[in-house]
Point group: C2
Chain length 287, copies 2
């Protein structure tokens, strides 16, 4: 099988590394990237069998993954689909889904496309960040499966399965709504925690001296790449703003309970928050 | 050396475990706890050499650590100090410092007391949560060192050093202000993230399916114990509310940049947030 990957960053690079390393030569992995530094890095790290031009990659590959920022996916997906042949499958990996699905919903080659979101990542970016086992035991969401041809869906699922992922189906609107709360809001809260702490601590050494592993965990996502996350926030604006508003609302509630020494209320809020423990333990166990 | 520990939970239990395990019998470790379950657990886990009554412990130990919730420290510290002899040292481990220091500032035995905050912990609690190496490579803050007798300070530092900690000095007011931002705010933001996500997701399985390791990291502190954290929030109310207000302010700024498609502004906020990366990497490296 020949697999092409457009964009050799954290996600594209990790897909490439996994396929190339674990397939024992039964899968040929081709990459393409507009960034010459990424091309050089992908070659020097041997993430792929060969880096090609976009034209050559679309010539060669049977399944093509698009792993570029979501705004670029929105801009380029129609053009990619124009040159997708009936024997090829195009799969995206974007973290938002409704605009991507909407943008190509009437494209004559729509059935060759599979809208996917592999739920995996780290706070790092670029080919250097590519990791083996990044996808292992994680979930992959597929949207609008009824709009993909059966053989296209089957091939995409086969690759995600090879990466170690369980796939499940979701409506793109539902996907974007839920991910706004469960993923995008976490990033906003971490970025903002970092900003707030830096606002009163001018000296990074002081933060280092005072911070424990709790702060490190909560602020970890503040290291995330603006080039990846800016477009995700933008593409999921409505739901994300709803999530931020609800979050601020709950912060105000918490603050009021502290301000008014209402220990019963703050305890109730913490006990309710504690109820997420099992979910978190499950994720940590599976890391 | 004989060391007593009042309160065998996460912190007291971890101090006990470390001293008992690493001292090769050169330190005798005594514990006391009002909770019979903690007494039974401490015995069955052999965290201490012996569980004693409070009276017996104050009879025996040369250095006595107080590792109970900060509200209980505030309530009990005067009474503990009443029975501290001139050859004994009393050390607290509370996460807030100004009310604790203020409460005993005129006590005749003040010089036998060392106000300390070992910056270490996990999201778990109770004797079961006791960990070896919890304090290794971490910092310990000592407040009002000039109010402690030289020999008392020296003994306390010796024990913290044995636990693997670097100690440094801080004014109690400064301590509480900075910790509100760097530690307590992280907890509030995690608790609130959990509340917000649970508000739109009724089904914990759904959260599990959608959440990645990023959410797990950001929400981890939402597992923290209300009995520990309620009194900390309460004792540090003024500074914590200041921190929450600034945090909400920054969230509003972030939200506005997203709402108005002001990519330049949101990118600037993320790049500024990224500046904490080195600090976080340093903490992670030291875990």
């Amino acid at each position: 099988m020949k697999i092409g990957i457009v964009g050799i960053g954290l996600i594209g690079g990790s897909i490439a590394k996994e396929l190339k390393t674990r397939s024992l030569g039964t899968i040929q992995v081709y990459g393409t990237d507009k960034n010459p530094d990424h091309v050089a890095k992908a070659n020097s790290l041997a993430l792929v069998d060969e880096m090609l031009s976009e034209e050559e990659l679309f010539e060669q590959a049977e399944v093509i993954f698009i792993a570029i920022p979501v705004n670029k996916i929105n801009d380029e997906l129609g053009r990619f689909l124009d040159k997708t042949r009936p024997d090829q499958v195009l799969v995206d990996t974007g973290s938002t889904k409704r605009f991507i699905c909407r943008g190509i919903s009437n494209h004559p080659n729509r059935s060759r496309f599979v809208a996917a979101h592999p739920l995996a990542g780290t706070e790092f970016s670029g080919p250097d960040a590519a990791l083996l086992d990044l996808f292992k035991g994680k979930k992959c969401i597929i949207c609008e499966k009824h709009k993909s041809a059966e053989d296209a869906l089957e091939k995409a699922l086969k690759v995600f399965n090879f990466l170690g992922m369980d796939s499940f189906y979701m409506d793109p609107e539902e996907h974007d709504k839920h991910l706004a709360f469960v993923s995008h809001l976490s990033h906003v809260s971490s970025f903002t925690l970092s900003l707030t702490v830096q606002e009163i601590e001018n000296d990074q050494n002081q933060i280092y001296n005072l911070a424990s592993t709790g702060f490190e965990s909560t602020a970890r996502l503040a290291k995330s790449n603006a080039i990846t996350w800016g477009p995700i926030f933008d593409a999921n604006k409505e739901y994300l703003v709803e999530a931020i508003d609800l979050y601020i609302n709950n912060l105000e509630k918490f603050k009021q309970s502290i301000l008014t020494n209402n220990i019963k209320e703050s305890t109730n809020l913490m006990l309710k928050a504690n109820e997420i423990s099992e979910v978190l333990d499950g994720i940590a166990l599976n890391k």
